[in-house]
Amino acid sequence: MWWLALHLPQLSLEAFAATLGDSSHDRPVALVADHRITAVNAAAAQCGIQPGIKRATALALSGELLLGQAAAERDAAALQAVAHAALAFTPAVTLHDTQTVLLEVHASLRLFGGLAALRRRLKETLAPLGHAVHSAAAPTALGAALLARWPDGGRGVTADLPTLRARLDSAPVWLLGPGKAHWDALQGMGLHTLADLRQMPRAGVARRFSEELLDELDRAYGQRPDPRLWVELPAAFETRLELFARADTTEQVLFGAAVLLARLVAWAGARQSRVAAFTLHMQHEPRHRESTAPSTTLRIELAEPALDPAHLQTLLRERLARITLAAPTLELRLHCHQLVHAGPPNGELFPSRGSEAEGLVRLLERLRARLGDEQVHRLQAVADHRPERASRAVPALTAVGATTEVGRAAMKLVDSALPLHRPVWLLPEPLPLSERDTLPLLDGRPLQLLSGPERIEAGWWDGTPAARDYFIAQAEDSSLVWVWRSRLPVAAGEVNWFLQGRFG
C-alpha cells in the first residue's frame, strides 16, 4: 500500500480569495469565526495578526484588513474539487480532515510510470485550481497525512515502514489531532516528539488523555488497520460560489466562473469524459427588499465535447458579452448533466487530420457564440426548380458533412445538364424592374436579352406557384444578369419583370 497525502494549509483563504474577484493580492486578508480570527495570509501575518486573536484587535493592528466569514461549506467544495482532480489518478481517494486528501496509489504506479511522474502529473492537474499543496508519500495513510502536515521534515517519499517509523519518531506531538488539543499538558510533561509519547505506558496515556490519541498513533505507525471510506463521484456536477462583493462587470463574473469551470473540468476528468453542455445560473441583487432576486441562466452547448478550461471560458466570455445583466450578480451556480465518454483531448505537436477538424469545430463554436447560431451556416442544395428555394441555409454545426444522398445525386445531375446556367448571386427578394418597349430597365438602361426563355413552372403544390420565363441579359456595363417575367396574368399597370440574380 502506498499512500500519497495532499495537504492544503491555505485552503480556507484560497477558497475565500476565489470569491473576491480580481482584486490585488497584497492586501492583508483574514477569516473570522465567532469574532475570532481563524486564518490569516502572509500580508496579515506581517502586520502581527495571528489566528486566535479577537476581531477588534486585528482591525486595530491593520487598517486595511479585509475580513471574511469562515464558511465550512465553501472550504468543503474546494476540497471536493481537489479530490475530484485526484480521482483521475486513482479510484481510492479519501478525505482525511478539512484540509487533507489521501490517495492510495499502489495500483496506479505502473500506469503513470512511477511515483515521481505521478506526483508531477498530479501537480500539473491541480495547478488550475490554484491551491498551495504539500504532499508526502508513505506506506500508511495516517503516516503520510502527518508527514504532509509537518512543514519542516515531512516532505518527500518514505520508502518503507521502518523509515516511516524512524521519521515519525522525530515528529512533533502537535501533528496528531488530539495532540493539538492536549498540547499544553504534553508540553508540561516534557513530551515533545512522538517517540516520547510512545515510550509512555499505554494505559496511562489512554486514561490521561484519550483513546483516540493512542488509536491515531497506532494507525500512523502501521500497528492498527486503518480502513477508509472512498470518495464517491456524484453523477451530476453542481457547485456554487457566493461572491464576496457584488459583481458589476463581466470580468468579475468571469473570474468567479473560471474557478467553477476549473472544478467542472476536474470532475469531468475524474469521470473519464468530456463536457458536452453546462449551465451557469447567475443570481442577481433584488431591486427592492420584498421582491425575489432575478436570475439569469446561460446554457452553453458544445458541438465538440471538450475538456479544456480555456476553451470553455472563451465560449462563456463570448456569450456573456452578448447579454446585458439585469442587476449586479451575487451568486454563481454551475450545473453539468451532459457528459460524453471519450478519451482525453489530443496533445500531439504536429497537426493531424483529426486535430485540424477539431480546431475548425472550435473556431465555428467560437464564431457561433459571438455572432449567434443562425449567422454561421452552411448551404444545402434543395431539389426545387424555384431558384429562391433551391438553396437553404443550415446552421453549421448541426450539419457537419450531412448532405443527404438524394441531394448529392441531384447535384451530379445538374452538373451534366446545366453547367453554369445558374447565377451565383441570388437576390433575397426579386427586384421589380420597369419596362420600356417590352424590355426591362436596370438602372434606367434597357437590358439586352441574350438567352432564353427558360420556363420554370413549379410550386403549385404548396400554395406559392411560380410560372416564369427566365432570360440571361446583359447590362450596360456588360455584366450578365438573370431576369424573369411572370407568365401568370398581371393587371395593366403592374410590374412584370424582375431581377433574380447576377452571374458572379
Partner: protein, 298 residues
C-alpha cells in the same frame, strides 16, 4: 584596364594628415566587369527582387487557373499567407468564376472554406457547378443587415449598401485567419474600414495556410491598403473579365488583362451579345402564347 579610383576626403579622425589631401579609400572595377553581377538578389534571399522584375512570395503561390493571370502575378499565382484584394464595381462581374479554380483547389484534402458576409444569397447549385464542395463551405454573416441590387422600379437603393463598419466581420475574419485550420477565406468588406484593420488582417494572414481574398467596392482603390496584391476587376464583355493590377510585388502592369471566364452564354447567345442587338424577341414570347418546351434556347 584603367582602374577607376574613387577619391574621398579623409575624416577628421586621422588628424595627422593635412585636411584637403585626397585619399584613396576604395577601388571600384570598371563597367566591363559590372556586366556580370557578382550575385543575383534572389540567390541571397528569396524575398529580395530587383525593381524591374516580379517578386517572389515567401511560400508557394496557388495557381489561379488562368495562365494569362499567372504570368503577371508574383510567384505565378495567388499569394499564400497574405491578403489578395479584389476591387469590384458591383458584385456579379465574374469574380467567383475567377476565384473558383483556386477555391476548389484549396478544398482538396478536406480543408474548409469560409465566406464572410457575401453580398447576396449564394446559389448552391451554381457553386457546385463551379467545383466548390458545399459540405466544406461555411458562410458567416454579421449581425447587421445588408442590401444589394441595382436601381429598380421605384428607385430602390442597391449596390453595396451596408451598415456602419462591420466590426463583427473583422473580428471573425481575424480569428479565422489566425486559427490556420482553413483552406481559403473569402470576405466581402466595405469601402470604408478602420485605419489599421487591413494591417491587422495582413498580420493575421501570416498564420493562414492558404489564399485570403478580400472583395471590396472599387471606390476603395484610392485608399491605401496593406494587402500585397490588389486587382481591379471589371466586366469587359459577355463572359469576359477585365483585370487591372493595381498593386503587386514588382513593376506596375502596363495594360489591363482580359480573361475568358467559364462560359455562361451559349454560342448563339454570345454571338447575339457581340452583335449588339437583342434578337430574343421578348414580345413574341408573351404570357398569352402557347408554352414551348422547357429548355428551348432560340
Amino acid at each position: 584596364m584603367i582602374q577607376k579610383t574613387v577619391w574621398a576626403y579623409s575624416s577628421l579622425v586621422n588628424a595627422s594628415l593635412p585636411l584637403f589631401q585626397p585619399r584613396l579609400l576604395v577601388s571600384v572595377p570598371s563597367a566591363a566587369t559590372l556586366a556580370t553581377p557578382v550575385t543575383a538578389p534572389l540567390a541571397i534571399h528569396p524575398s529580395l527582387w530587383r525593381a524591374h522584375q516580379l517578386g517572389r512570395t515567401g511560400a508557394d503561390a496557388r495557381t489561379t487557373g488562368f495562365d494569362a493571370l499567372d504570368a503577371v502575378l508574383p510567384g505565378r499565382g495567388w499569394p499564400v499567407q497574405g491578403l489578395s484584394e479584389l476591387l469590384l464595381p458591383h458584385p456579379g462581374v465574374g469574380e467567383l468564376r475567377l476565384l473558383a479554380p483556386a477555391l476548389a483547389a484549396a478544398q482538396v484534402g478536406g480543408r474548409g472554406l469560409m465566406w464572410f458576409e457575401p453580398p447576396a444569397a449564394p446559389c448552391a447549385w451554381a457553386l457546385s457547378a463551379l467545383g466548390i464542395d458545399m459540405r466544406q463551405l461555411v458562410v458567416v454573416r454579421a449581425r447587421q443587415a445588408l442590401a444589394m441590387g441595382g436601381k429598380g422600379q421605384n428607385g430602390q437603393k442597391g449596390r453595396f449598401e451596408r451598415a456602419p463598419p462591420a466590426a463583427d466581420i473583422l473580428w471573425a475574419l481575424e480569428h479565422a485567419l489566425k486559427s490556420g485550420h482553413l483552406g481559403a477565406v473569402v470576405a466581402w468588406l466595405p469601402a470604408r474600414l478602420p485605419a489599421d484593420a487591413l494591417r491587422r488582417l495582413q498580420l493575421a494572414a501570416q498564420a493562414h495556410g492558404g489564399p485570403a481574398f478580400l472583395l471590396r467596392p472599387a471606390v476603395a482603390r484610392h485608399t491605401p491598403s496593406a494587402a500585397p496584391l490588389r486587382l481591379v476587376l471589371s466586366s469587359a464583355g459577355p463572359d469576359l473579365l477585365g483585370v487591372a493590377v493595381l498593386k503587386r510585388r514588382g513593376p506596375p502592369l502596363a495594360a489591363p488583362l482580359t480573361l475568358e471566364l467559364p462560359q455562361v452564354l451559349s454560342p448563339t447567345a454570345l454571338a447575339r451579345a457581340l452583335a449588339g442587338r437583342a434578337s430574343v424577341d421578348a414580345a413574341a414570347v408573351s404570357p398569352s402564347s402557347t408554352p414551348s418546351s422547357t429548355d428551348s434556347r432560340s
